[in-house]
């Protein structure tokens, strides 16, 4: 990869051949993707969904000591009014008694800005933000309007470099540029790599006053690992993964979510980077290895029992800690399996459908299989080479499991639910309501300050599944009184009717 010289990270469509339109079975998608013939298609009917900006604001407003400027119309960034709830919890967890919540600004582009350009407004906004909030970094998010009218946000940032004390990070996440919202992760890391993660050693700034402290820092760094978290991870998730890595004797430098910019500055000096989701972190970890020689392990999400063990083994192997890892895995899984026993009868044979980000959906499906449940369908938000790791596992269990690649698109989900009648739907924030209106029990697939990752996550997911299956009367009643917006014919129609070929963008 050599994209860093460019201002903008490439679209995932180009970099990874990602797609968001597919309907079929896991066996089919595996075969077609491996054969290289899973072409991007299009939907002749589509529903409003998530663009790059949404994950970008979710991640970036969680950073400590940063201000996010959303350069666009006043509505872009409005999602932070709800995303900010978890930012606030994060601040509270880090010890702030009266948290401010997410701090973001809108340049509020108006009709006259569309005509005369928004660069001046952005310039003044950066200067004023620097003066008013004195942040470590000012993050500028470009949206559709400045991209179309041709605002040069990199130029503005560059010109102001010497005028403001904060580091300016211009990030391109215009909604119309890509169908793959996960491109946002690349866009974010791209800017941090270009502007912040520069490999300047702290010792150059005379932080250390004697040889001994330099040596002890070196020792520390030999056990320091970058843990790449994701914005859908909760505080308890982060704690669980940190707990497991601490057990291996490692110190964790967690980023990007909830991190201070210093975590990005420290990252080049870690002994290893550890991913938790290739959809999120491959861009950053690959560059960190290329640029600074920090090796990485990735490709595996620590959701599920076997997946968590695999994840730990990968980490341990790189650091020569295999024996310690095996001991940890044994004691952890022994205790977990013992604790799961009384829960399993409640879950045995229950059927499920899942919907969310690519890797989380597939990894959680693998976990449900481990718990004795049956997977009827999986609906990853997009699909690319990284999905293969989990798809292979699902294929081994049953190649006929249905797969519907869609960023939300609840009309397809509802059709599939009527068709397959799952006992429970495990879905993304805002997907779930459409399953709920079908009368199906629902477990949210991330968030709510619950734990999903690691061994503790496996137990908690099982416990919560049992809880939802025990009483789903809320949704049963709802389904009798809330109507889906689709005409009757839809329920006997091919759910993938509107996915059509050709016209690859």
């Amino acid at each position: 990869m050599n994209y860093l010289k460019q201002k903008v990270a490439p679209r995932r469509e180009e970099r990874l051949g990602s797609c968001i339109e597919f309907g079929g079975t896991v066996g089919e998608i595996h075969k077609q993707f491996c054969g290289g013939c899973l072409k991007n298609k299009r939907r002749a009917f589509s529903q409003g969904t998530i663009c790059q900006l949404l994950p970008a604001t979710a991640i970036l407003t969680s950073l400590q000591d940063c201000v996010v400027i959303v350069h666009g119309a006043v509505g872009c960034g409005g999602a932070v009014h709800s995303q900010g709830a978890s930012v606030r919890v994060g601040q509270f967890n880090s010890g702030i008694k009266n948290p401010k919540g997410a701090l973001w600004l809108s340049t509020n582009l108006s009709e006259s800005d569309v005509v005369s350009g928004g660069e001046e407004k952005l310039k003044h906004s950066i200067v004023e933000a620097d003066k008013r909030y004195r942040p470590d970094a000012i993050i500028v998010l470009s949206t559709c309007v400045p991209a179309i009218i041709g605002d040069d946000i990199d130029g503005v940032a560059d010109n102001l470099k010497d005028q403001v004390s904060a580091t300016i990070l211009p990030i391109h996440c215009e909604g119309f540029k890509t169908k793959i919202m996960a491109t946002a992760y690349d866009a974010i890391f791209h800017s941090f790599l270009r502007n912040m993660t520069d490999g300047k050693d702290e010792t150059e700034f005379n932080v250390y006053d004697n040889e001994i402290s330099v040596t002890s820092e070196k020792l520390r760094r030999s056990r320091l690992v970058n843990l790449l978290n994701v914005s859908s991870m909760t505080g308890p998730d982060q704690k669980e993964l940190t707990r497991l890595l601490n057990k291996l004797g490692l110190e964790v430098n967690m980023l990007p979510c909830d991190a201070h910019p210093d975590a990005f500055r420290l990252a080049p000096f870690a002994a290893l980077s550890i991913g938790v989701c290739p959809t999120h972190d491959d861009y950053f970890m690959t560059y960190l290895e290329q640029k600074f020689g920090v090796p990485f392990v990735g490709g595996q999400m620590p959701i599920g029992i076997e997946n968590t063990s695999l994840w730990l083994r990968q980490v341990a192997k790189k650091l020569g800690l295999t024996d310690a890892a095996e001991r940890i895995i044994k004691s952890e899984t022994d205790e977990l399996n013992q604790s799961l026993k009384p829960l399993l009868p409640y879950l045995k044979g229950k059927t499920a459908m899942l919907s969310a980000g690519e890797i989380r959906t597939l990894a959680t499906a693998v976990l449900l299989q481990e718990l004795g449940m049956e997977i009827l369908a999986v609906r990853p938000y997009h699909y690319d080479q990284f999905g293969g790791v989990e798809i292979e596992k699902l294929e081994k269990i049953n190649p006929k499991i249905r797969i519907n690649v869609a960023t939300a698109q609840p009309f397809e989900a509802v059709n599939l639910i009527y068709r397959t009648k799952p006992d429970i739907y495990i879905g993304h924030n805002s997907d779930n309501i459409w399953a709920a209106k079908c009368g199906v029990a629902v477990l949210p697939i991330y968030g709510t300050n619950s734990i999903y990752s690691g061994y503790a996550g496996a137990y908690d997911i099982a416990r919560r599944l049992k809880r939802h299956l025990k009483n789903s009367s809320f949704n049963e009643h709802l389904s009798k009184h809330a109507r889906q917006p689709y005409k009757e014919f839809w329920y006997s129609e091919n759910p993938f009717k509107y996915i059509q070929g050709g016209d690859d963008q």
């Binding site: 939907r43 002749a44 009917f45 589509s46 529903q47 409003g48 969904t49 998530i50 663009c51 790059q52 949404l54 400027i69 119309a73 006043v74 509505g75 872009c76 960034g77 409005g78 999602a79 932070v80 009014h81 709800s82 995303q83 900010g84 709830a85 009266n98 401010k100 919540g101 973001w104 809108s106 340049t107 509020n108 582009l109 800005d113 407004k121 003044h124 004023e128 008013r132 909030y133 559709c144 309007v145 179309i148 215009e174 909604g175 119309f176 540029k177 169908k179 919202m181 960023t407 939300a408 698109q409 609840p410 805002s430 997907d431 309501i433 917006p485 005409k487 839809w490 509107y498 963008q505």
Partner: protein, 454 residues
């Protein structure tokens, strides 16, 4: 003499207290009965608005065909270069095929508006084929959520509501409560509608469960449009006037017995409703109000529940709540912060509410939206705490605003209630603060914050 403070920062808005015009328009459309929105926007607009409403409008859900079910053309770079109408045409065709609706409304986003897609050509085409469909340009750069509401109502009034020559003397249209921007819009509308019905009026209020698409279609024979806002829905009211020859009145948003009495008298006078009817209603409603108030008055007096207050809200809420606190509830509103961007020539309308307070309470007015700057204004009015043993400070205090004021309230040791946008720390179903009955709910909510600490 009141103090006036105006925000001079025209560079950015910190944590904006508003949807964009598309967001306001979309929530307005999803609040209409039997209506399906069709977005002609980039793919993320629908999701962005949905996430926004979740955290700003008391966890307002998707409803019938909102949220991520909203039909949307999801235009991409190619469409922006070559034009997006072909994609929109296909989307409209398939929406009509798949989605059950009696009226379809196309709303555009920034992208489509900048490239100048002519959505009306598609509207005409499908109307000729017999589909009830209208559309309007609502790209976010046109303005805020209040503007979006006005744009949707205006096109509805212009293109959907049927013209009728003969007006019904006792029929009115009700405007000025903005869905989404006012998290309590459902409760507020219903309370005002019910009051007007008690005056013997037939009311078209667009968004309550008693409104239907048919009743909206037949709103052209109303005798008067009542706008319970001096700022919002002005274009819509003008459209009623121009297209349907229905005159309108504006009235400050009424909360509490004093304001509501004035509102009812105002309406009755214009519509020539007999004095005894309106007087009877005012008496009954006032009696109802005091019947409940009487039995919390013990605690109010025993436990000293009078508070200094800061009120932060839009041009509907801020003056209405300030007036209620000062004139009905005996609280001490030291500072009223109006969060909308109000033109200089409009400001006298707001200051006159304060200048005519029956309690003559000297409330200071600030025009400010940025949460961190509100604190700065507050400290200009209220002396900072010092180490002195004796000081007459802002205590006991209360902040009534949005969830963005939580930190500020905690900082100054004041109670806090979220009423204005964004409302992310409360659930809102059928609650409303308008009228007599609504102000009882407001009292419940204010005093519950204090009682919860006991």
């Amino acid at each position: 003499m009141n103090t006036y403070i105006t925000n001079t920062n025209k560079r950015f808005i910190e944590r904006p207290r508003s949807f964009c015009s598309l967001g306001g328009a979309l929530i307005t459309v999803t609040a209409l009965p039997e209506t399906v929105p069709i977005l002609h926007t980039a793919m993320g607009c629908g999701g962005s608005i949905y996430w926004n409403q979740y955290g700003s409008t008391g966890y307002l859900g998707a409803g019938y065909c909102g949220g991520l079910a909203v039909p949307s053309s999801n235009i991409q770079e190619k469409d922006i270069i070559f034009g997006g109408l072909e994609r929109l045409e296909e989307q409209v065709k398939n929406t009509i095929e798949l989605v059950e609706g009696k009226l379809y409304i196309i709303l555009t986003g920034c992208t489509a508006d900048i490239i100048g897609d002519d959505i009306q050509s598609i509207v005409r085409q499908y109307r000729e084929e017999g589909t009830e469909i209208i559309g309007t340009e609502t790209g976010g750069f046109h303005g805020d959520g209040y503007k979006g509401y006005d744009l949707v109502l205006t096109v509805l009034i212009r293109e959907f509501i049927e013209k009728q020559k003969v007006k019904k003397k006792n029929k009115v249209n009700l405007l000025g409560v903005v869905p989404g921007q006012d998290a309590f819009w459902r409760g507020n509308l219903l309370k005002i509608r019910t009051l007007l019905e008690k005056l013997g009026l037939e009311v078209n209020s667009f968004f309550t469960e008693y409104d239907t698409l048919n009743s909206i279609r037949n709103a052209g024979d109303a005798a008067l449009t009542i706008v319970v806002s001096e700022f919002y829905a002005q274009d819509a009211a003008n459209a009623f006037k121009k297209i349907h020859q229905i005159p309108y009145i504006t009235n400050p948003f009424p909360i509490g017995p004093t304001s509501t009495e004035a509102f009812l008298k105002n309406v009755a006078e214009i519509l020539e409703i007999p004095q005894d009817i309106v007087q009877q209603l005012i008496e009954t409603e006032t009696k109802h109000y005091f019947r409940y108030l009487e039995r919390v008055a013990d605690a109010y007096n025993d436990l000293d529940w009078q508070r200094y207050a800061v009120v932060v809200g839009d041009v509907n809420y801020a003056p209405a709540i300030t007036k209620f606190l000062a004139d009905d509830f005996g609280w001490l509103p030291e500072l009223m912060v109006v969060t909308n961007n109000v033109d200089e020539e409009q400001k006298p309308k707001i200051s006159s509410v304060i200048e005519t307070l029956t309690s003559q309470y000297p409330t200071a007015i600030a025009y400010e939206s940025d949460p961190t700057e509100i604190k700065t204004h507050f400290w200009k009015i209220v002396p900072r705490k010092s180490d002195r043993l004796y000081q007459d400070d802002f205590s006991p205090g209360f902040v009534i605003g949005s969830h963005l004021e939580r930190e500020f309230a905690t900082d100054i040791g004041a109670g806090h209630l979220t009423v204005s946008y964004p409302v992310g720390n409360r659930i809102v179903l059928n609650r409303g603060y308008a009228g007599y009955d609504g102000s009882l709910s407001l009292i419940e909510d204010l005093l519950s914050v204090i009682a919860a600490q006991r």
